[in-house]
Every structure is written in structure tokens, then in C-alpha cells.
Amino acid sequence: MTQVEKETTLYLGPQHPGITGNMMIELKVTGDTVQRAKTHVGYLHRGFEKLMEERLWMQCFPIVCRICVPEPDPNEENLARAIEEIEGREVPERAQYIRVMVLELSRIASYFLWMGGQAGSMGLYTMPQWTVGDRDYILDLFEELTGGRVYHMYIWAGGVRRDLPDGFAGRVRRVLDYLEERLTDYDRLFFQNALFLKRSQGVGVIDKDKAMEWGVVGPPLRGCGIAHDVRKDEPYEVYDKLDFEIITHEGGDIYARAMVRRREIEQSISIIRQVLDKMPGGPVHNPGPNPLKWKLPAGEAYVRTESARGEFGYYVVSDGSLKPRRIHVRGPAYVHGVSLLEKMLVGANIADVSVIMNSLGTCPPEIER
């Protein structure tokens, strides 16, 4: 049986079904069991953090949204909020509500993309067809609100870039109603699917005791039964004025993470409805200085949001000049998609590699920035 025990090297990627962007995993396998895994990133490094050191503050906004393709908005919100914190600039309340609406819409859109990818990695190809189609209704809303479908460049320092178009709230509600109804279909096709249950329950388990230590965040952490959500722990914008509870699920496996996300779609729908009910009138932008002469006072800020993949942080340093001294992005994908993934793949079946990778919300463009 020496033939079977011989270790071979398998290169997986850099293209992956259901993952936005490219990265490669070098697997050492015996039979169909992974012995060791090494991630290779570097296909997508655009040097955004460094680029921004050569940009005016306002010019950073069209850059940061590109850090994460499926979910650009937390980047915009983080940068805006860090700047506002350093500057002490107030954001009109209406703009804060709009920001929450945008962040939650982007969470739903992001989860839909994940659903397609997660199912696709198991060979359930009807799902990606559905989820991509349904996500487009949210992109339609984004297009109407911001002028762009994927990259919105909508949240900026001092508020948001435009007020809601006439009748927009009604159209948001219609899309929410539709998506909510569709969830039953998704349950039948996917979340209750025997194949999905078989391949997700007890697979890709994260050790609850280690999760915090490893820096796991977001649905993977809440899927270990640990209640951690920045929206609650350190509320930003108007999250403290909205009614919702942190969603957790026990087990730490792929199934638990999926269920957290599944329920959070409903939670986001509920949050957006509350936002639309409570949103006050008034301005949506508190203007700052002329962008060409805008010197941010010297100072620094660390801000974080709860993105679809977990806690997303921005560390922004200003030396009082026209350009940032340093902007550092702390995204969850690096922890999940590199260090955690390498640990979790040990002992996994080759066929489960992509499934695990998807379940962690791995996003190469965000890993590399």
C-alpha cells in the first residue's frame, strides 16, 4: 500500500468556484486527505494602503471601496468615520441612518454571493443562478442610490453623497419583501438539502476555545456560539437606536456558520425596515473644506464595523498634512483565509477544501489590498 501513502503536492487555484478574486493553495496530500496546506497570495496586491499615502484625503474614497469586491461599503464607512473622528466632524442623523441602510443592504448582497459560492463548491449549481439573480435587485437599488452597481463611492466624510431619490424607500421595501419570500425557496433548495447537511454538519469545525485566540470574527465566531458583533459591542452610526440581537449558533462547523448567515439575512431585512421607519429628515452631508486644500488635523483613529465577513477595522493616521500618513486596513479575510484556513485544512478531505474556504468568507482582494 506504499503507493497510497505517498505524499503528493496538489495546487488548488488561483481560480476558485464562488470566491471573488484569486489565491492559490498548495496542498500536500496522501490519498484524498490533506496533510498540510500552504496559501499563496500575491495575485491581487494593488498596494492600496501605500497608494493612499500619495493621495489627497478625498481621493482615498474611490480607492478604499475596491479593497473588497463583494462588500465595498464597510470600507467607505470606516474611512469616513475615522476621518470624522480625527476631525471632530458631525454627521447629520439622516446620513447615519442612510449609512446603516447601505451597510445592511451590502451585507445581504454579500451573503447572497456567499450562498451561491457555498452551494457551488458542493456542486449545487442552481443556487448560484438564483442568488446572483436575486442579488441584482439589491444592486439595482445601489445603482439608483449611488450611480454605481458594485463600487458605490457613496459614503464619504461628513455624510453621504446624495439623498434618497424620490420613492426610494418604497422600492427598498419591495425588494426586502421579495427577498424575504424567496428565503423559503432557498431553505428548500439549500439549507434543508440533505446533501448540504451532510457536507456541512461536523465538517470544518473551529475549536471554540481557540477561536478568540486565533482572531476569528464574524459569522465563523458566532457560529462557535460566541456572541460578538461590533454593531452591539461598540455601536456606531445609529445601531444603538435599532432593535436586534446578536445571532449565534453552536457547533463551530460549516453548518453553524451557514445558519448564522441565513438568520442574519432576516435580521438585516428587519434592521433596514426599522431604518426606513425611523429615518429623520434633514441634510445628508456636513461639508468640509475644499478637497484640494483639505488638511486633516494631526491625530489617529481606529474604527471598526461589523462587515458580512466579520469585524473590519481601519487605522488612520494623519500628520496634519494634505495626505494620509498611514492607513492600515484590518480585514477578517487575512485571518480567516490565510492563517485559519491553513490550520483547518489539515486532515480535511480534498473535496471539502473549497467548501471550507467558502464557509470562512475568504476574500483574496481584501487579504492583499
Binding site: 478625498m58 461639508p287 475644499n290
Partner: protein, 593 residues
């Protein structure tokens, strides 16, 4: 099989086989984009002024400004237009948000398929003019990145002002100046409009940067009289300011004023390098802005300069004409003392043609500069003009500025609509008189600065527009009343501005104690010998010069009101600066040779 339900449930999706798909289908229908869609650019070529702010803000360097056939540079328009590289653009629309005229927009057009990389370069508005019908992402009236509102200038209030000759404008405080300077987009459209092409964006940026010393250095590089310009300049720069298209122009004049006010002695900051004496002597006739500017830069370059001035003080009309509440004497003194410090010799109370002959002047100097201004007032040409208390504005203002008393009585009428008329009226107000301005055309036709007109009105000056003086009525040899007729505006057959035409029978009489004429001035060339006058080319009262301000007599240069029609201080300064180059070439030859 334990989970039978989980096996069969997914088959419920089969029902969708019979449903209409919700995604785009073949044959392909082009999706209708949203109202704010950010697609390819469109530029309203006529509205665009080529300021290049779009190119400055674009973080992708997707825009460059290029010359386009058929669009010529003119005042307030660089003649350039943006070209967008669609291979670099990310359609963020920051260029649209920053466009000061609102000419740039993004359209709902987004399809371009071509094997030719060059075709990714689009000149919005020139290429695909039809995109103009497809504008979608446009500037918002409420949400702006540019600051369109000027920091207001503090002023004495109207009732307070007429009590004295105290300066009306109070100047910016440091914080106000920084804020105002920060509104600038550095486009430099103003530089071409300034007759002297001052380094405007540079000194504004320095003020915004809290570097007032640097600002002062930029200012003195080609204007030795910034105290003057900072207070009374006609600011042609501001009329073309990019920001003025949708908001208030940057207060360029007030920012210059701010910079000069920060330093009691410019010499300390500028510490100018004066060239070794080159042995050449230049005589300057007239100590107005033109003569002083020429003298200043000539002295810096090692020339031996003497300015001959007929009046007891240099400054020209800025000393003898402009009232003290606009340009205080200590500001003038500060400038003159700096001039003298760097070696300009100023001989006052010296009228050429009377105290010193022109021949003597020619003997003493290697080259001459004439900056004698326009000091002889036009007569009104009506009956009663020679009565006592019928006076001329420039004479009136000069006497007041020299510190002499002029008794105008308590009811004054000023005739004219220019800045000189307004100055005379506001000065007469300060002497305690009730003042009316009589002007031939409509208020909107007045050549005076609107701020000046407003200022006069605040101070209680009455304006009677479309009133033409007919006769000054006297009593005991003294002015007693003025008779004037009302006019209607009729179109000019030659296509010029509408002209006033007397309405038959609509005549009025106003009792007055003085009449002050302010309908213009001309030059006095009587100091020039005939042989010079014969050779000098003089056209409609103005001496003709070439680009270096050289007259038809090679050693004589000229500038200021005697040469140009704009009749303001900055044009005179620009002439002086330009003449320095000419004189240097004439006396020292082209240094590059």
C-alpha cells in the same frame, strides 16, 4: 436514508422551470440605467473654462487638459478642455463634484467595444456630442465639495463712515484669510486676466498654508505696490475666478491685502538682493504707479533711478485722487519708504517742463520713462461751468488729499458714473453735504465698481440715473442750481450699448451749492518739446508703445494711463514692470547674447 425530506425538498425548485425568468433574456434588451448612473463623461464645451480642476482631483490621473481646434484661449478660459482616458477612469465622479462651472457630467452611456486602445481617449463634449442628451450623474445643488461662499469682509457701518475719513474696509483676521484662501482650486485662470500676471494661486496657497511670508515674496516678485492693490485694485482676476461661475469669487484682492498687512516693513521679510550698480541712469517722469513700479525693479537691477514728481508726494492718482478712506496715507508711505530704502530717488515738487527742462532731463539720463497719467479734466461743456463752486472732481479730490479745505456747501451734485464720480460724492458726504449723482445712463450701465456704488448708497448718496445736465444756474457769480433733462434709452444703430436720448420737455431744476464734474480726464503733454512731440506717436491722447513699452523714440519708454485704456493702477504697474525689461535690453543689450 434518514433525511427523506432533505432529499425531496430541493426538487420543489422544479416549479421554476415554468416561471418567466427574471434576469435579462435573449434577444438582448439593453438595461435602462438609473437616473444617477455614472457612465462615460459629457462636457458642456461652451460652459467649460478649461480650469483643469477635474484633472487635479482625479486620483487615477485619467484626465489631461488638451488644446482643441476651434477653442481659443481668452480671458477666463484657458482654451484647454479635459480628455478622459476611459482605460484609467473608475467613474467615481469626483471630477463632476469638483467642476466649478458644472459643465462636466457623467452619462448613462457605458458600452464601448473596440480593438483600438487609442479610442479609449475621449474628449467629452467633442467626441460623442450626442451624450449631451444622456446626462445622468450631474452636480447636486445642495451637496458640494467646493466652498462657494466668500468669507464676508468686515466694514464700518454706513452712519459711522460719513463721520470721518477712517478706512471703511477693516481687513481679514488671520483665521478668516486662511479660510478664504482655502476655497481656491489653484486653477490659475485668474493669472491671465491680471494685467500684471501676478502669482495668484501661489500666494493664495501660501496663505492657506499659513506661510504669509512666502505669500509676500510671491506678491513682490512682480508688484511693488501690493498695499495699494490689496485695497483698491479693480481686480480683473476676480471677475474670471472659476469659483465665480457658481459662487462668490475668491477674495483675491482682500487676500493680498491680508498678506501685506502682516508685515510692517516688507524689507525685513524680503531682504532684497540689489544688483551692483551698472552705471546706467534712468529718469522717470511722474511718481504714479507706473513710474514707481519701473523705478523699483530698475533700482533692484542696479540702475541709478530718479523719479521726478510734480506734487509734494509720490503716488500719482493713488495719492492725489483715491480718497483716504479707501487708501490711507500710511499705506502709501509704507510703500514709498520701501522704494527709497532700495535706492529709488524721488524728487517731489519737481515738475518737468517747469522746474527742470526736458532737455536737462535728457542730458542727465540714458533712458527716460514717462508715467504722467491723465490729470486734465474734461469740461462739461454747458452754460455756467465757470461759475464759482463749479469744480472738477480730480481737482477737488487732490485738494482734499493734500489736506486743503474745500467749501462745497451743503447740497452737492456730482456729474458722472465712474469711480471718480463715486469717490467725489462719498468725499462730499464726509464733508457734511447732501449729495446727488447725476448720470446719463442707467445704474447698471455705470462704469463704477458695484461695490463702490453700493458703498455710496449705504452712505446716503442719492443717484439720479438717465439725467443729463443742461445748464448750471448761478446767483451772484456762484452756483445756485442745476437744470437737467431726463433721458430715455434708445438702441445704438451701430450695435453698441443703448444711448440716452433727451425726452423733450422733461426738465428739472435742483437747487445746489456746488457742481462737481467727473466725466473723465486727459493727459498734459505740454512739458514735451515740439521736436519730441513730432516724433512721438500719440493716438487719441495716448502715447503708442511696443510690447516693451518703448515709444517711437528709442530712449523714451512710457506706461500707465498715458498708454493704456484700462485706466487702473494694476495696468500701470504692469506697464512699469514690462518697461524694466525693455529698458534693460535697450541699455545693456540682450544678456543672453
Amino acid at each position: 436514508m434518514k433525511n427523506i425530506k432533505g432529499v425531496f425538498l430541493p426538487f420543489s425548485a422544479l416549479k421554476f422551470l415554468g416561471k418567466k425568468p427574471h434576469t435579462v433574456r435573449y434577444p438582448l434588451e439593453k438595461k435602462k440605467t438609473a437616473e444617477r448612473y455614472r457612465g462615460f463623461h459629457y462636457n458642456d464645451i461652451e460652459e467649460c473654462i478649461g480650469c483643469g480642476t477635474c484633472a487635479t482631483i482625479c486620483q487615477n490621473e485619467a484626465i489631461d487638459m488638451i488644446k482643441i481646434d476651434g477653442i481659443e484661449p481668452k480671458k477666463g478660459d484657458s482654451g484647454l478642455r479635459p480628455r478622459v482616458d476611459n482605460g484609467r477612469c473608475c467613474w467615481c465622479g469626483l471630477c463632476v463634484e469638483m467642476c466649478p462651472t458644472g459643465s462636466l457630467s457623467l452619462t448613462d452611456q457605458y458600452l464601448q467595444t473596440t480593438p483600438d486602445p487609442e479610442s479609449f481617449l475621449l474628449i467629452p463634449g467633442v467626441d460623442h456630442p450626442e451624450y449631451g442628451e444622456h446626462k445622468s450623474f450631474v452636480k447636486d445643488d445642495e451637496i458640494r465639495l467646493l466652498d462657494l461662499q466668500r468669507v464676508p469682509m468686515r466694514e464700518l457701518d454706513g452712519a459711522e463712515r460719513v463721520k470721518s475719513f477712517a478706512e471703511v474696509v477693516l481687513g481679514y483676521m488671520q483665521e478668516e484669510a486662511r479660510r478664504e484662501a482655502s476655497r481656491c482650486v489653484d486653477c490659475a485662470i485668474c493669472v491671465t486676466a491680471c494685467p500684471d500676471h501676478m502669482h495668484i494661486p501661489e500666494y493664495i496657497a501660501a496663505i492657506a498654508d499659513a506661510d504669509d511670508e512666502l505669500a509676500l515674496k510671491y506678491i513682490y516678485d512682480n508688484n511693488p505696490l501690493p498695499e495699494l492693490c490689496g485695497k483698491v485694485c479693480t481686480r480683473q482676476c476676480e471677475t474670471v475666478c472659476a469659483i465665480s461661475h457658481l459662487g462668490d469669487p475668491i477674495a483675491i484682492r482682500w487676500l493680498k491685502r491680508y498678506a501685506t498687512e502682516q508685515f510692517p516693513d516688507p524689507a525685513v521679510i524680503l531682504n532684497p538682493k540689489i544688483a551692483e550698480p551698472n552705471g546706467k541712469k534712468v529718469g522717470i517722469v511722474g511718481g504714479g504707479p507706473a513710474g514707481l513700479s519701473a523705478g523699483f525693479y530698475l533700482a533692484l537691477r542696479g540702475f541709478d533711478v530718479t523719479v521726478y514728481e510734480a506734487l509734494p508726494k509720490a503716488g500719482g492718482m493713488t495719492f492725489a485722487g483715491i480718497p483716504k478712506y479707501r487708501f490711507p496715507e500710511d499705506s502709501l508711505d509704507k510703500q514709498i519708504s520701501y522704494m527709497e530704502k532700495i535706492g529709488v530717488k524721488i524728487k517731489t515738487n519737481t515738475r518737468i517742463g517747469k522746474d527742470i527742462s526736458f532737455e536737462e532731463l535728457e542730458k542727465r539720463h540714458d533712458a527716460l520713462f514717462l508715467g504722467v497719467g491723465f490729470h486734465v479734466p474734461y469740461r462739461l461743456g454747458i452754460i455756467g461751468e465757470d461759475l464759482k463752486n463749479s469744480i472738477q472732481a480730480v481737482d477737488f479730490l487732490r485738494e482734499i488729499n493734500l489736506g486743503n479745505k474745500v467749501d462745497v456747501g451743503d447740497k452737492v451734485v456730482v456729474i458722472g458714473g465712474g469711480n471718480v464720480a463715486i469717490d467725489a460724492a462719498r468725499v462730499a458726504r464726509r464733508l457734511g453735504a447732501e449729495v446727488t449723482i447725476l448720470y446719463r445712463r442707467r445704474v447698471e450701465d455705470m462704469p463704477a465698481d458695484w461695490e463702490e456704488i453700493e458703498g455710496a448708497e449705504h452712505e446716503g448718496v442719492k443717484i439720479v440715473p438717465q439725467g443729463i445736465p443742461l445748464e448750471i444756474i448761478g446767483k451772484d457769480g456762484k452756483v445756485a442750481a442745476i437744470k437737467y433733462g431726463m433721458a430715455e434709452m434708445v438702441p445704438d444703430p451701430k450695435g453698441g450699448r443703448p444711448r440716452p436720448k433727451l425726452i423733450e420737455g422733461d426738465e428739472h431744476t435742483m437747487e445746489v451749492t456746488s457742481v462737481i464734474g467727473a466725466i473723465g480726464q486727459e493727459a498734459d503733454y505740454s512739458f514735451l518739446p515740439e521736436r519730441i512731440k513730432e516724433k512721438l506717436e500719440i493716438e487719441r491722447g495716448r502715447i503708442k508703445v511696443n510690447e516693451y513699452k518703448q515709444t517711437t523714440i528709442d530712449y523714451i519708454f512710457a506706461g500707465g494711463d498715458t498708454v493704456n485704456r484700462t485706466m487702473d493702477a494694476i495696468s500701470a504697474i504692469a506697464d512699469g514692470v514690462k518697461a524694466v525689461e525693455g529698458i534693460e535690453r535697450f541699455l545693456l543689450g540682450d544678456k543672453n547674447k
